[in-house]
Amino acid sequence: MLALVCYERNSTPNWNTSRCPRDRRDLLYYRARYYDQSVGRFASEDPSDFGAGTNFYNYAANDPTVFIDPLGLWHCAANVNCNFTPGLKKALDCFDKCTNSNTLVTGGVGKRSKPNSSHSKGEACDVGRNGNPKLPRDTAERCFLQCFPNGYGQEENNDPANPGTHFHFQENTAPGALPRFAPGIQPYAP
């Protein structure tokens, strides 16, 4: 059992992840990476090469109010099944590094997955723009290019009950299509 001790004066722990502010620049040390509260992102490399799976972050995913994970890597929104293939997990690790952000995955192997679809096979995920307000499309496209060399991506409308759009990333391209990201925004088409 590890005890949480904060040595610095006037410092308080971040109870979401039980870590202490480390210096005057409000850098929090999350086991392996520094999180800069002033800019809302991580200031150092993450250790994703250790190959930790999403189960490691379950405590963050299970609480809808807590989306910060211990290592500052991509994570899943509440009730999202992120039982992804190793290839998609690796691509998302890369995407996180590229965007220097803590990507919130808002759609995975969902209830609506059709048989043999990329979602049902764990090869695709959705990244909602409402849940990732600091992820502009240009950045998403650039990092998709880098991290999904054989994948397919598009920005599509949410279902009518949830205004907005999300990015759909899949590990493999669609049959008949070259890899990369489709132009424009695609409609909701269940």
């Binding site: 759609g107 969902g110 609506r112 997955s113 059709k114 048989p115 043999n116 679809s117 990329s118 979602h119 049902s120 695709a124 959705d126 240009d138 496209e141 650039r142 998709f144 290019l145 060399p149 054989n150 397919y152 598009q154 920005e155 599509e156 409308n157 759009t165 759909h168 899949q170 669609a174 049959p175 008949g176 299509a177 070259l178 890899p179 990369r180 990201f181 489709a182 132009p183 424009g184 925004i185 695609q186 409609p187 909701y188 088409a189 269940p190």
Partner: protein
């Protein structure tokens, strides 16, 4: 012994030719002038990276593909021969510079067909239209072209009604 040397020499020659065919000097600027001069050259000769890039194959053999590129306000479609992994390069047979043709938020559409002919494969008929940022799935493109791989050109469709489906390119794999 002699035959082994001949074999090794042949292997070396093919390795050199493979390497040279995959190496392209990125010397062509992605401008309207650069695009116009690209037919006959490899598309990988275009300078720089293209985060905005996509394409569809016109046939099962993947002999031809339509490739979309966009950067710095310049947007174009390319008819390519043998655009295959890992680099998806390919000789440019024809170009369609959309830079001055596009209006507002129009995007290229690859799932189009001439109404009187019924649906066809992706990329056989391409269009330029506005699907209102994903609020419209089916639309009549403002401009449309038939991709003529045999004669290596884009033929504008002027007098026949065309429809496009903007629902994306994962239909074959199933929507979630």
């Amino acid at each position: 012994m002699k035959s082994i040397w001949v074999l090794l020499l042949g292997l070396a020659v093919s390795l050199v030719s493979m390497t040279s065919s995959q190496t392209t000097d990125q010397s062509v600027p992605f401008t309207s002038a650069g695009i116009a001069g690209l037919p006959g050259h490899d598309i990988c000769e275009l300078q720089g990276e293209f985060p905005k890039q996509f394409g569809v194959y016109l046939d099962d053999k993947k002999d031809h593909a339509i490739d979309y590129r966009e950067r710095d306000g310049v947007i174009a479609l390319f008819l390519l021969e043998k655009s295959l992994p890992p680099k998806y390069c390919g000789i440019v047979d024809a170009t369609l510079d959309l830079t001055t043709l596009r209006k507002g938020e129009e995007t290229p559409l690859f799932k189009c067909h001439v109404n009187s002919e019924g649906r066809t494969r992706w990329g056989q008929v391409v269009g330029l239209g506005d699907n209102q940022r994903g609020h419209k799935r089916f639309l009549s493109p403002r401009l449309a072209w038939r991709v003529n791989a045999r004669d290596k050109r884009f033929d504008e469709i002027k007098s026949e009604p065309v429809s496009c489906d903007a629902s994306g390119y994962i239909v074959g794999d199933g929507w979630y």
